[in-house]
């Protein structure tokens, strides 16, 4: 596991938040995923050793929670809300627009490696539906026009690199 020094420091700090080390399982997985972009194959053994657990104790957590991923994704993660309030306001069209913009399908990395588009369940911003979470940032009232505009921004940033 090749983690940044800052991540290792955060890991040691967060373990002190709990009287039982096992509680730090989710925080550690978040920190590793934020550092590397996904959870590489040696994650479970590494976290288990760190928290004095068995690797299966960590693997069962990784596979339970939808936010943890064991494979790399695109450079940006576009999560479109699929649940009722967003769907009532056109969330499915929004998702299709992103798929079209990046020539990709839900759950796949786009051919240019730039994005992964996913449908996710309720993001708790139903009053501003449809909503989209791009990496850490929530975007509200994302109709097709706004989805196109957000896609253009991502493409423009990609070109600069």
């Amino acid at each position: 596991m090749n983690l940044k020094p800052a991540t290792l420091q955060s890991i040691d700090e967060v373990i002190t938040h709990y009287p039982v080390k096992r509680s730090a399982t989710l925080p550690l997985l978040h920190l590793i995923q934020e550092d590397i972009g996904y959870l590489p194959p040696d994650t479970c053994e590494w976290v288990a050793a760190k928290l004095e657990l068995q690797p299966i104790n960590v693997l069962e957590v990784v596979t339970f929670y939808p936010m943890f991923r064991q494979k790399p994704i695109g450079r940006r993660h576009i999560k479109v809300c699929r649940t009722l309030s967003c769907a009532l306001m056109g969330g499915y069209k929004t998702c299709e627009q992103f798929e079209k913009e990046f020539n990709t399908h839900r759950g796949e990395v786009s051919p240019d490696g730039e994005v992964t588009v996913d449908f996710v369940e309720c993001l708790a911003s139903c009053g501003t539906a449809p909503v989209v979470l791009i990496d850490d940032d929530l975007h509200e009232k994302v109709d097709c026009a706004k989805a196109k505009q957000l896609s253009d921004q991502i493409k423009a940033e990609a070109k600069k690199r």
Binding site: H17, Y18, P19, V20, R22, S23, A24, T25, L26, P27, L29, H30, L51, N57, E60, V61, F64, Y65, P66, M67, F68, K79, R82, T83, L84, S85, A87, L88, M89, G90, G91, Y92, K93, V120, E121, C122, L123, A124, S125, C126, G127, T128, A129, L133, D136, D137, L138
Partner: protein, 453 residues
């Protein structure tokens, strides 16, 4: 009758120009004065105030907060924990988001008052994983409060110490269920625990007595500590005290969050006057009043019975628009106030498709430990999805009902009820649409209708 004015006690500063989420702004607006007074009082007095207030939990179940606190095992000799349930995951609910992002110190003050009142050793805020900014804002706010002596060791110079840590979830709805949340906080899969014996008040986090309260509930505690339980109980209506924040989404002109005295506004006033009514050229068809698991109401249906007004029993005869928005009234008409998430559907929506959307959600979110829920939620999803995208049959309504009827009461947690109530109520209220769906499918969709599944 005109809708009453909003009464913002929890959302007082939400969207206020110039109001920021740092401690300086909070203190300038009188912040932490209530905590300063609270730590000079006896903890039992504070618990009494909450009991007198009649405060009911704002997470969904509406369980009286004072009773919850009264159940805490204080003789075990084990430390007591408090967990702030900031998982806000019931579809249609989006109130806690704004408290945490825009007014985090209100939550921290309410939390610390509750911790002091219950002699809590350590508090955790369990925030859903999809709110990374919210988690960072809370962490910064806690650090500010710690530096100012409101959180941490020897709070405000007293002998009382209690810290707060933020703990992030990772995208699982079931973490909103309090025992599932506790399992998750212990670093495990969020499989809810069976009750008895695992009542959090006795055997909660690390098998210690634990209080789990919703974000908004703890903000109400702050208000109660400031103004007294009796004054709080005068807001709202008897047994439905205080204010309620309604999160309105779907097909209305002005969706959003609105705080009113509980029971003082009707569904019709909320949707027609406050939210501006249906979209142009549309009509309201159905509404889910308390988060997606609450049973659906059909516009045009009527509810009759007797209810208690003061000491008397009086007859009521309500349409959906006439129902007062409080826990008890919504309970009387067979649904629930739940988390305050009001999802509105107009006449462009086909109910089979709307149910298919909800069923996909519950099937995705079932934790999988109880067979009736794991299998039942999956089959309800498969059947409704097939109806929309494959072949729809006349007998599907009866099949769906038979699956839904076999789930509730047969599971460890209330998810069994949550996932079956939509199917049961959609079929009870809109059985005609399910029966005619094979024919409806052959016709064109109404203009403006969206794909739902």
């Amino acid at each position: 009758m005109a809708a009453p004015a909003q009464r913002r006690i929890i959302f007082q500063h939400i969207d206020e120009a110039g109001y920021s989420n740092d401690i300086g702004c909070y203190v300038r607006h009188g912040g932490y004065e209530v905590l300063k007074k609270a730590v000079t009082r006896k903890p039992e007095e504070l618990i009494d105030e909450v009991k007198k207030s009649g405060l009911r939990g704002r997470g969904g179940a509406g369980f009286p907060c004072g009773v919850k606190w009264g159940l805490v095992d204080r003789k075990s000799g084990k430390p007591i924990y408090l967990i702030v349930n900031a998982d806000e995951s019931e579809p249609g609910t989006f109130k806690d988001r704004y408290i945490m992002h825009q007014d985090p110190h209100q939550l921290i003050e309410g939390t610390m008052i509750s911790c002091f009142a219950n002699n809590v050793k350590q508090a955790y805020i369990y925030i859903r994983g999809e709110m990374p900014h919210g988690a960072r804002i809370l962490e910064k706010a806690i650090a500010e409060a710690r530096a100012a002596g409101f959180v941490g060791k020897n709070i405000l110079g007293t002998t009382y110490s209690c810290d707060i840590f933020v703990h992030r979830g990772a995208g699982a709805y079931i973490c909103g269920e309090e025992t599932g949340l506790i399992e998750s906080l212990e670093g495990k899969r969020a499989n809810p625990r069976i009750k008895p014996p695992y009542f959090p008040a006795v055997l909660g986090l690390y098998q210690c007595p634990t209080i789990v309260n919703n974000v908004e509930t703890l903000c109400h505690v702050k208000y109660i500590a400031e103004h007294g339980g009796e004054a709080y109980a005068k807001i709202g209506t008897p047994n439905n005290t205080g204010t309620r924040i309604f999160c309105v989404s779907g097909h209305v002109q002005r969706p959003g969050y609105y705080e009113f005295e509980a029971g003082k506004i009707t569904m019709g006033q909320l949707l027609n006057e406050v939210c501006g009514g249906p979209l142009p050229g549309r009509k309201f068809k159905a509404v889910i009043p308390g988060g997606s698991s609450a049973k659906i109401l059909r516009f045009g249906e009527r509810f009759k019975g007797k209810r208690k007004v003061g000491a008397e029993m009086v007859d009521y005869d309500w349409g959906v628009e006439d129902v007062p928005m409080d826990f008890d009234s919504l309970g009387m008409i067979g649904t629930m106030g739940g988390s305050g998430g009001v999802i509105v559907m107009d006449d462009t929506v086909n109910m089979v498709e709307a149910l298919a959307n909800i069923n996909a959600f519950y099937s995705h979110e079932s934790c999988g430990q109880c067979t009736p829920c794991r299998e039942g939620s999956l089959w309800m999803k498969k059947i409704t999805t097939r109806m929309v995208h494959g072949q729809a049959r006349n007998e599907d309504a009866a099949l769906l009902k038979s699956v839904a009827d076999q789930i509730p009461g047969r599971t460890i947690c209330a998810f069994g009820e949550a996932c079956s109530w939509p199917t049961q109520s959609f079929i009870a209220k809109f059985g005609d649409e399910f029966k005619s769906y094979p024919e409806t499918k052959k016709t064109a969709k109404p203009a403006g209708a969206h794909e739902l599944v």
